[in-house]
């Protein structure tokens, strides 16, 4: 499921870094090696955590304890990255690159990365918002999400900041296609197993389910920007319903019933994304146009 692209090059070029450091090839000093090794480990842990949160989906409700623990781990990594300045660098780079959305530096990184979809239209390399969502289709989703934000803003704010941090290395001028860190072959295998049969989902489905996915998964995350109040009519409709898992999607979809999106839909959409990052841009553009169109319909513009 995950593209077998080139490995992320964090601080050195050329080598395929692995967590725990096969850094024997690196000419830098021991300290730098250790530091970059630690950063790589941390990054890989972050990626892994985000994948786990994404893939928390089964037909059964995800385990809240597990989600909370993973979320706390991600938050912890984020805090540490903020402390040592890595986070700031990345958010700044992203906001500089971002033209479409007005994102301040201390907004959740997710939003910036998601806003970066405009680059895709210019044929630049694409950053994916969610690691688990895969490669090509994502830019379209990014765009969609951004537009939604324009509408209600709920999407962006509830999308976890941690989600796109896996793409942060992209801002350092490296391959922005989301790659797996060190030997996460197991994970790739696991994910490709879970993909099952990859039937193409409608773009609108993908849109909806990704939003729902985000909400379900990151419902417990902190939101720096408070969500603007959702449509009061909908609120009333769902006032007696526990909002933990589907607050977001009722707002987004504007439907009376919760969309019957289960994990298999998500996995199908994931599997529908091809493995090669090279073909991503072309399919991205067509997806973008389609989603553009669909978004217009949904947003009602």
């Amino acid at each position: 499921m995950f593209p077998k692209g080139t490995k992320r090059k964090f601080s050195d070029s050329g080598d395929e870094p692995a967590a725990g450091g096969e850094d024997v090839n690196q000419p830098s000093s021991v300290a730098v090696r250790m530091l970059s090794s630690y950063s790589l480990q941390r990054q890989s842990l972050l990626d892994m955590s985000l994948i786990k949160l994404q893939l928390c989906h089964m037909l059964v409700e995800p385990n809240l304890c597990r989600s909370v623990l993973i979320a706390n781990t991600v938050r912890q990594i984020q805090e540490e990255m903020t402390q040592d300045g890595t986070w700031q660098i990345m958010t700044q780079a992203l906001s500089a690159a971002n033209a479409a959305a007005q994102c301040s530096a201390d907004r959740l990184v997710a939003t910036e990365v998601l806003c970066r979809q405009t680059e895709a239209t210019q044929g630049e390399q694409v950053l994916k918002p969610f690691p688990a969502v895969g490669s090509e289709g994502c830019p379209a989703e990014e765009e969609v999400v951004v537009e939604e934000e324009g509408e209600g803003g709920v999407t962006m704010s509830t999308v976890s900041p941690q989600a796109p941090t896996s793409y942060l290395p992209g801002t350092f001028g490296m391959d922005p296609c989301w790659e797996e860190e060190n030997g996460e072959d197991e994970e790739e295998d696991e994910d490709s197993e879970e993909c099952g049969s990859g039937s193409e989902e409608g773009d609108s489905d993908r849109l909806v389910e990704d939003s729902r996915t985000a909400e379900q998964v990151f419902g417990t995350f902190e939101i720096k920007n408070p969500a603007p109040s959702p449509d009061p009519a909908l609120e009333e409709l769902f006032s007696d319903v526990d909002a933990s898992y589907y607050d977001l999607d009722t707002v987004l979809t504007g439907m009376q019933s919760a969309p019957k999106m289960g994990p298999y839909d998500l996995l199908e959409s994931l599997s529908s994304h091809g493995p090669s990052p090279l073909s991503s841009s072309t399919s991205c553009r067509s997806d973008l146009n389609e989603l553009d169109h669909i978004m217009e319909i949904i947003v009602g513009s």
Binding site: V60, E61, N63, C65, T73, T220
Partner: protein, 446 residues
């Protein structure tokens, strides 16, 4: 390192038969094990929503060797899979916990729960039935009234023993999140059911009403950083309960203080050791099980790598900490990757509170003697369990040189985990669940 051969006062022998289902499917995986208060019955729940109750054979003079073996007494489907239409999610039928009520008459009562619903089951024996009805014949068919010429009084006839289980109460719709524990109060009238964020108090007689006594749900779900992982009533004090959190703390609450026990009376948390801090520190500190000692003086908690015994009078740190499988500390990243780090192991006390037991990987389980400070690792597996033979202690090799019979950390099978086990309330009989197999070990005849 020394290999302990015999240092616990008990030596466990495997039974003549290992109880397991004939076809191993996912549904047969045992998800809970519990002895009843007298130890006569042993209940297991599985992922398929079934409960199997074993009864101990009465010892007979003719066969003294068959000393109290457990045989199947009753099997019933406790919970069925459901579908939550509002959330479009399935509700698993897996039995999360079983708790017995103390026996008060000829019938046995137990509470079993899945993620959302608690049920009270009555297990009773029937060895007689009335025969000789007037209006229906022996098959139950209605008799034609015109053929009835005389009246007779039905009499009770002996029949083969039948054990039937009936659901007497269904306690539903009180939990938004997944129920992780139930605990019967010492007053025998109430019990608590606990999910990730709330603890509800029920009366055993009343199914349409429950009281929420602990609620840690934040106003904004995005602020959620801690969930409740287990809760239990104090064995003697009917007003006291304890609940553990995913952050490694235990809170003791007194229900007399106020209706909503959100403020605790006691808070048990061990300060973190900064030298072992890592990104996984919080996850491995998450408490997976708590158990009061039978005496009510101590509380045992199980987190990923250790078992801790707390004195209820001292909140600052546990009185004893036992390393279950510290060799996994260096493998936390891999265990995080394959999700094993989220495994919830249970822990149990023996009847006299002198020994505690908990499970590990590779079908190993560990026992710690609190008095002698000795510990043993045993394995629940068919290959190593010859009937009547003594269970051989196992050893995990942590250093470089592996001795014969030692198991290296890398060769541990992480898919074989012992999460659930139970200890007979009085005797040295333990029940250990290893996926779909139930092992019952007894100590040798003393």
């Amino acid at each position: 390192m020394k290999c302990f051969s015999r240092y616990l006062p008990y030596i466990f022998r495997p039974p003549t038969t290992i109880l397991s289902s004939t076809c191993h499917t996912e549904a047969d995986i045992i998800s809970t094990v519990e002895f009843n208060p007298s130890g006569e019955l042993l209940a297991t729940g599985d992922k398929g929503g079934r409960v199997v109750v074993f009864q101990r054979e009465q010892e007979t003079k003719s066969e003294p060797q068959r000393r109290g073996e457990y045989n199947v007494y009753s099997t019933f489907q406790s919970h069925d899979p459901e579908f939550d239409y509002l959330k479009s999610l399935e509700i698993e039928e897996k039995i999360n916990k079983i708790r017995w009520l103390p026996q008060q008459n000829a019938a046995y009562f137990l509470l079993s729960t899945n993620d959302k619903t608690v049920k009270l089951w009555k297990i009773s024996e029937r060895d007689r039935r009335p025969e000789g009805y007037n209006l229906k014949d022996e098959d139950g068919r209605i008799r034609d009234p015109s053929t009835i010429t005389s009246l007779r009084v039905p009499v009770l006839q002996n029949t083969d023993l039948m054990v039937e289980a009936t659901a007497r109460r269904v306690f539903s719709n009180a939990h938004t999140y997944h129920i992780n524990s139930i605990s019967v109060n010492s007053d025998l009238q109430t019990y608590i059911s606990t999910d990730d964020l709330r603890v509800n108090l029920w009366n055993l007689e009343i199914t349409d009403q429950s009281f929420n006594i602990v609620d840690i749900k934040p106003c904004n779900m995005e602020d959620l950083t801690e969930v409740i992982t287990a809760a239990e009533f104090h064995p003697q004090q009917c007003n006291t309960l304890a609940y553990s959190s995913s952050r490694g703390s235990v809170r003791l609450c007194d229900m007399r203080k106020q209706a909503l026990c959100d403020t605790h009376c006691k808070f048990f948390e061990e300060p973190e050791d900064p030298s072992t801090r890592s990104f996984f520190s919080e996850i491995i500190s998450s408490i997976s099980d708590i158990k009061f000692s039978h005496s009510g003086r101590f509380l045992m908690t199980r987190d990923y790598l250790t078992v801790k015994v707390w004195d209820l009078n001292m909140e600052t740190r546990p009185v004893q900490t036992y390393q279950v499988h510290d060799y996994l500390r260096g493998k936390l990243c891999s265990l995080y990757e394959n999700d094993c780090i989220f495994d919830k192991f249970e822990c149990v006390w023996n009847g006299s509170d002198s020994v505690i037991m908990t499970g590990s990987y590779n079908n190993f389980f560990r026992m710690f003697d609190r008095n002698t400070k000795k510990d043993v690792t045993l394995e629940a597996s068919r290959e190593n369990s010859k009937p009547r033979a003594i269970l051989k202690p196992r050893k995990v090799c942590v250093g470089g040189k592996r001795r014969k019979d030692e198991v290296t950390v890398d060769s541990l099978d992480f898919s074989k985990k012992i999460l659930h086990s139970a200890w007979h309330p009085q005797e040295n009989i333990i029940a250990v669940a290893a996926s779909n197999n139930l092992y019952i070990f007894q100590d040798k005849v003393t």
